[in-house]
C-alpha cells in the first residue's frame, strides 16, 4: 500500500532475516515459537506471519484484523466500540485507513498457559504504520500476551499509529505486556482502551527502555462489570532527548472494582517525561491506588508527574503517592558501606528502579523479560 513494497509472508519466524529477529527480540519476541501459543508479525504495512501453535489450536484464534473482519461480520460491533473514531487526529487517521493489526480471541473457558506474541515492526524509511488491534478474552478464559513494537536498525524516521481495543469478558483474565523499542527518529501514537466485564481481570505492563523521539499515549481501562480488577504498570527509561507523554487511566463504573496504577520513570540526556495517571470512581464501593515514582539522573531532563483522583461516590477509596527526585544520597552511601564503589552503587539503584518484578508477570515470563533487560545496553 501507499507505494511500499509488500513484505513476503513467511511460515516461521526463523525464516526472517537475522537482523529482523534481533530487533524483534529486543521487544520481547522469542524466535522459537514452541515457547509461544501463537505468533503474529507485522512489518511496515504487511502481515508477515500469523500462526497458532498446534498445541493451542481451538483455544485461541489469531488473525490479521482485516482478515478477521472479512471472516466475522459480528466483529464490526467491536470495531470502534470503546474508542471514538473522532477522538483525535490519530484515531481519525486510523479510522480512514489502516493496514492491518492483530485480532486475538481467547475462547471461552480456555486456559492458554504459554504467552501469545505479536510484533509490530517498522523497517523501511519514512513509514507511517497504521494498525487496528482487537483482543477479545471470552468468558472465563485466561491468557498472556506479549506484544513488541520495534524498529529495524536501518529504518529511518517513521510514525506508528496504533488503535487497540480490549474486551475482557466475565471471569476472564488477561495479562498483557507491551515492550516498546523505538528510536530517536520515531513518532509513536498508541490509542488503547479496555472494557472489563463482571469479575474480569486485566493486568497491563508497559516497558520502554530505549530512546524515542516522541511518544504519547493514555490507555484507559473501563471497569463496567461488578468486581472487575485491573493493574496497570509501566517502566519508562527516557534518554537521548526522548519526549514521552504517557498515562494510565482507570474508570470504575460498577461496584466492587479495584484498580492499581504503578509507574516508574527515569530520565536523562535532555529528555522530557509527563507521567499521567487518573482513577475515576463513578461507582462504589471501589478501591484505587496510584503510585508514580520519578528518578532524574541529570540536570537536563524533566519529569512531570500528574496524578489525578476523581471520586464521585462517597464510598470510593482512592489514594496516590508520587515522588520525583534524584537518587537519595543515603541509599548510595548505604550500598557503599557494603563495599560498592559510588558508580556501582548508583548502577544497582538504577537497575533496581527498572526492576520488572513490579510487573504482574508469571515467573517464567518475568525471568525472560528480566534477562532481556539485563542484556540491553542501558548506557548506565
Amino acid at each position: 500500500m501507499m507505494g511500499d513494497k509488500e513484505k513476503k509472508r513467511v511460515s516461521s519466524l526463523t525464516d526472517l532475516p537475522h537482523e529482523i529477529l534481533e530487533a524483534a527480540y529486543k521487544s520481547g519476541i522469542e524466535a522459537s515459537e514452541d515457547k509461544r501459543s501463537a505468533t503474529y508479525m507485522y512489518i511496515d504495512h504487511s502481515l508477515v506471519l500469523s500462526k497458532v501453535n498446534e498445541h493451542f489450536a481451538g483455544r485461541l484464534e489469531l488473525l490479521d484484523t482485516k482478515d478477521a473482519l472479512d471472516k466475522y461480520s459480528w466483529l464490526q460491533d467491536y470495531l470502534w466500540d470503546i474508542i471514538e473514531p473522532d477522538k483525535d487526529e490519530v484515531t481519525k487517521s486510523v479510522f480512514e485507513e489502516f493496514g492491518g493489526g492483530y485480532f486475538i480471541r481467547i475462547m471461552a473457558g480456555a486456559r492458554v498457559e504459554f504467552p501469545l506474541q505479536s510484533c509490530l515492526m517498522i523497517s523501511g524509511k519514512k513509514v507511517k504504520q497504521k494498525v487496528h488491534n482487537i483482543v477479545i478474552a471470552e468468558e472465563g478464559s485466561e491468557a498472556r500476551i506479549i506484544t513488541g513494537c520495534s524498529m529495524h536498525t536501518k529504518a529511518e524516521r517513521g510514525e506508528h499509529l496504533g488503535v487497540s481495543e480490549f474486551f475482557i469478558k466475565k471471569d476472564a483474565k488477561l495479562n498483557y505486556t507491551m515492550i516498546h523499542n523505538w528510536s530517536e527518529q520515531m513518532k509513536v501514537r498508541p490509542r488503547s482502551a479496555t472494557r472489563l466485564e463482571e469479575n474480569a481481570t486485566f493486568i497491563s505492563n508497559y516497558i520502554l527502555l530505549s530512546p524515542v523521539k516522541d511518544l504519547q499515549m493514555y490507555p484507559m481501562v473501563y471497569c463496567e462489570g461488578v468486581n472487575a480488577k485491573t493493574e496497570l504498570n509501566s517502566i519508562v527509561y527516557a534518554r537521548g532527548e526522548s519526549r514521552v507523554d504517557i498515562g494510565s487511566g482507570v474508570v470504575f463504573n460498577a461496584a466492587g472494582c479495584r484498580g492499581e496504577i504503578v509507574s516508574r520513570v527515569m530520565a536523562k540526556e535532555n529528555s522530557n517525561v509527563k507521567a499521567r495517571a487518573i482513577i475515576r470512581g463513578n461507582a462504589s464501593p471501589a478501591k484505587g491506588h496510584l503510585e508514580c515514582k520519578g528518578l532524574l539522573l541529570d540536570d537536563t531532563s524533566v519529569i512531570h508527574a500528574i496524578p489525578e483522583l476523581v471520586g464521585a461516590r462517597k464510598d470510593v477509596d482512592l489514594s496516590h503517592e508520587a515522588a520525583v527526585g534524584k537518587i537519595a544520597e543515603k541509599e548510595i552511601t548505604y550500598l557503599m558501606s557494603r563495599g560498592l564503589s559510588r558508580d556501582d552503587a548508583t548502577s544497582v539503584i538504577v537497575r533496581g528502579f527498572l526492576d520488572v518484578d513490579i510487573l504482574g508477570l508469571p515467573p517464567n515470563l518475568q525471568q525472560e523479560i528480566s534477562s532481556m533487560v539485563d542484556k540491553m545496553d542501558l548506557g548506565l
Partner: protein, 255 residues
C-alpha cells in the same frame, strides 16, 4: 586496656568531628584491642552515632583533627566503601529503604557478588537462622518492622564478614526473641571469626549474650568513663547518667 599497635584493631587519636559546622566530638582517644567487643553508653545526643558513623566513613562527618587507624592502616581520609573493603561493617540504626533492591541482592553485594546472583547454601542457612525467608525477595527495609530491619542489618553483616563491626543500637525496637537471636548470632560470629565489635546500646539486655570486657560512656562529645560493661550499665540503671557526670572516679584519659 591493652596497648601496642599490632594488638589494636582500631585506634582513635585526638579525634574531633564536626557535623554541619557544629562540633560534636571533642578530642576522642580510644584503642580497641583485636578480638574484643566494646559497648558504648550515653544519653541521647551525646555523639555516639556520630562517633560510629565517623569511624565508618559516612559522608557529612567532618574530621577536624586527629586520626583513625584500622589494623595499623590510617583510614582517616578513606571513603566509606574503601573502609568497608578494608573490613569495616556498619549496622545502621535507621537503614534506608531502596526501591527495587531486594534483601537477597544486599546479601549478594555484601558477599562480594552481584545482585541477582544465586544464593549459596550457606547464605540460605543464614537467612533461615535470621528468620527472614519471607523477606528475601522484598525491597530492602520497605515495610519491614523495627525488628525485621535489625535482623536484616545483622544478616548483612554476617554475609559481609567484617573484621570490625560497628553496630548502632542493634537491640532497639527489637522483641525479646529477636534480641536473643541477634545477640547469639553476633557472639557466635565474633568468636568464630576473631572479629571485633563496637556497639552502641541503651539496654543491658544484649550484654547477656555478648562476651565483652570493655565499655565507655560518652557525654557531650567526650569519653566520660571507661570500665566493665556490666558495672557501668548497672550504675547508669541505678543512678542515671547524672551520676556519671558527677562521678569522681572517672578516668577520661585512661587507655
Amino acid at each position: 586496656m591493652i596497648s601496642g599497635e599490632s594488638m589494636n584493631i582500631l585506634e582513635l587519636e585526638n579525634l574531633s568531628v564536626e557535623v554541619e559546622g557544629k562540633r560534636i566530638l571533642e578530642d576522642i582517644n580510644l584503642h580497641l584491642p583485636e578480638k574484643s567487643t566494646m559497648l558504648f553508653f550515653g544519653p541521647n545526643g551525646s555523639g555516639k552515632t556520630t562517633l560510629l558513623l565517623t569511624i565508618a566513613g559516612m559522608p557529612g562527618y567532618n574530621i577536624t583533627s586527629g586520626s583513625i587507624t584500622l589494623n595499623g592502616v590510617d583510614i582517616t581520609s578513606l571513603d566509606v566503601d574503601e573502609r568497608a573493603r578494608l573490613g569495616i561493617g556498619t549496622g545502621f540504626q535507621l537503614p534506608p529503604e531502596i526501591t527495587g533492591v531486594k534483601l537477597r541482592d544486599m546479601i549478594k553485594i555484601c558477599a562480594g557478588g552481584r545482585p541477582g546472583d544465586d544464593l549459596t547454601k550457606e547464605e540460605r542457612n543464614l537467612i533461615k537462622r535470621f528468620k527472614l525467608d519471607d523477606f528475601i525477595n522484598r525491597d530492602i527495609n520497605l515495610g519491614f518492622s523495627g525488628g525485621e530491619k535489625k535482623r536484616a542489618e545483622m544478616l548483612q553483616m554476617m554475609a559481609l564478614k567484617p573484621k570490625l563491626l560497628l553496630l548502632d543500637e542493634p537491640d532497639s525496637g527489637v522483641d525479646v526473641e529477636s534480641l536473643k537471636l541477634i545477640g547469639r548470632e553476633l557472639q557466635k560470629y565474633l568468636k568464630a571469626s576473631g572479629a571485633s565489635a563496637f556497639i552502641i546500646t541503651h539496654h543491658g539486655d544484649i550484654l547477656e549474650h555478648l562476651d565483652s570486657k570493655y565499655a565507655c560512656v560518652l557525654m557531650d562529645g567526650r569519653i566520660w568513663c571507661r570500665g566493665n560493661p556490666r558495672e557501668i550499665y548497672d550504675t547508669i540503671l541505678a543512678r542515671g547518667y547524672r551520676e556519671c557526670a558527677e562521678c569522681h572516679v572517672r578516668h577520661p584519659m585512661e587507655d
